[in-house]
Assembly symmetry: C2
Homo-oligomer: 405 residues x 2
Amino acid sequence: TIDGDALWRDIMAQAHYGATRKGGIRRLTLTQEDAQVRAWFEKTCSDLGATVSADSLGIQFARVPGTDESLPPIIIGSHLDTQPTGGKFDGIIGVLGGIAVLRALRETGHRTRHPIEIANWTNEEGSRFAPAMLCSGVFAGVFDEDYALSRTDRDGVRFGDALTQIGAAGPERCGDHPVVAYFELHIEQGPILEAEEKTIGIVTGVQGMRWYEVTVTGADAHAGTTPMSMRRDALQGAIALMAAVQSIALDHGPDAVGTVGLVECRPNSRNVVPGEVFFTAEFRHPDDSVVVAMEMAFRAKAETIIATGLDVAIAQVWDSPAVKFAPDLIAAVRDAAQDLSYPAREIVSGAGHDAAYLARIAPTTMIFVPCAGGLSHNEEESATPGDVAAGANVLLRAVLTADQA
Amino acid sequence: TIDGDALWRDIMAQAHYGATRKGGIRRLTLTQEDAQVRAWFEKTCSDLGATVSADSLGIQFARVPGTDESLPPIIIGSHLDTQPTGGKFDGIIGVLGGIAVLRALRETGHRTRHPIEIANWTNEEGSRFAPAMLCSGVFAGVFDEDYALSRTDRDGVRFGDALTQIGAAGPERCGDHPVVAYFELHIEQGPILEAEEKTIGIVTGVQGMRWYEVTVTGADAHAGTTPMSMRRDALQGAIALMAAVQSIALDHGPDAVGTVGLVECRPNSRNVVPGEVFFTAEFRHPDDSVVVAMEMAFRAKAETIIATGLDVAIAQVWDSPAVKFAPDLIAAVRDAAQDLSYPAREIVSGAGHDAAYLARIAPTTMIFVPCAGGLSHNEEESATPGDVAAGANVLLRAVLTADQA
Ligand SMILES: NC(=O)NCCC(=O)O
Ligand SMILES: NC(=O)NCCC(=O)O
């Protein structure tokens, strides 16, 4: 079994890099804080005897050899980047759970057949550079490397330049890396496990999700002198569309969600009727056809705003269809939880994860553990040492099962 | 009469400082661009024989002596700061029209009884530092100097520090400056004069206006995993309130306006349900009681949002009641327009102006000229050389009338 205390110490150690006053982490991908945690990852894994490398998009791999080095590695991974107001667990326990597995193997002297690698995927959150899971997407052949390198953040900084800035890239071309199976441990980020008092979520797949960028254009005008009837107020048009994102989700059943997360108003001056508003929207549902239906309803709403004399441009910037994980690995997780007597249930992930893209190129699954109140993407995100250790123990067992397959 | 060509050349000359690609000006108060236009103002006025000074808030005064230096000056003024996407005329023609008056006096050798001063008021726009007309407000005793110095912009920079940064302050304490009468030439910024083919607006007063800062607080949450029913989405709450600003204005007759100009969403990440939204709102009407009624309707709407489980804080950050200008000076403007055979009509200003505060301490009035399509606070703002010259000619005559009073 894994050393739960050491795992918890690692969680607290990495939390220094980008620590916020409210106890969370602000560690956007490819920033100085990200560079710090990458160095920490490299040192921590090296100290456990692993060899650490990075590929052309800065994805880090920490490798311990197997007894048969001709076999491709089993990869355990997740991400160390966070949201602007992120917590200490999202992504982190997937990487650090992998480190806990390395530590357990080292301490027991157990040698796996396959090499074992821990991956720290670059830009999973998608907060600085859209879309999310950008680099696991390139790794899995969903996106071109050039597409990734040319993404820009809201200040216009290119992904490629940010990568160079922190010197995170390595020699291997992204995707030129074998993988025989992929495991990811994660907090649920939702309320179900906690509510049902389950320790382990046996993740069977990931729901479908689409992201949009919307620009509403009207005309800048004086707030004091322009009669209401003469305005082309981009914000008021955007408001109607942003409200529709919520109402459309509510119209599509309890499993549907719709969110506007980012808004930019221009020129953003108190006494100027806004001439342009940019906002992002997303819809998610376990059934892809419902995601499509929500998009159609949103586009229909946009037509009604265009009819008022405003311009509306909607760009779909991401489409991540629903994913089903590998039955063998799901069974390995189920068996591990049962052997260890952890209360468990099957669950579909509401969040996107690097595993969703890895599933396209290798047998893949995930293990969830509860987080307090289902809260995530929030500085108050929290999980218990016992639950995290339980998740890592299930991870260890499932990996050993896969190693024998 | 004034030299219309020289006035137009001045307008084009100042437009270099902060020029935008779309032909407008971005010259927020107390920035480097503002420092440049201040230096231009000082040189231009000095070349016309005026003595230029600045007070403790950076308000610039260019003075030519009168025949009786014991008399307080007649001040002609407006502002050289602009909106982020401002035009070449708003405020500018009031200052440059004053310079045109100096030039006319110099070229004809006419000596006024009173000293004549041209004022360039600091931070009229209120875009960088709220509220608008901040320094004419201190000048008129409405605000304390410390209040002005402690205003912060959206990046947290204090007004006082920005003032020091560009070295714009002079030795005289703001407000320790005599004034016997105040005139301000301005574009209408609205559609009425153009629609009625009038060259001159005889401005009888300024409508009432109030500004608000609104913060809606919910909780950051994951956009993919948080069911709609468990969200405390600050943006969706803010949307309902921002939509109400428009609908409340529409409910209060054709003279009412209500605007949301500035929005900040936090943490502003695509896949995070926003935990906090800050926005500004304003209501205006020629009748102060209608402004109060709109505020009450807005606060009532906020209660309904609070009832949904969000926190809403509304701070009234500015109250500028309706203003009536001095009958004698209004008459002087009317007579000047008539003598010069310019089509004219009385008009109430929808925009705030430094004149609104000067009216509290001295006989004050304004002269409006048309602008194309009523467009202002927009880079495409435009006015004709003929109309601007007509306004400056009316200004010159009205000033000479006041000088004899
Ligand atoms: N796990 C996680 O929060 N990933 C971010 C991608 C998403 O928005 O679901
Ligand atoms: N003249 C002008 O645009 N002033 C800005 C203050 C206001 O918002 O009315």
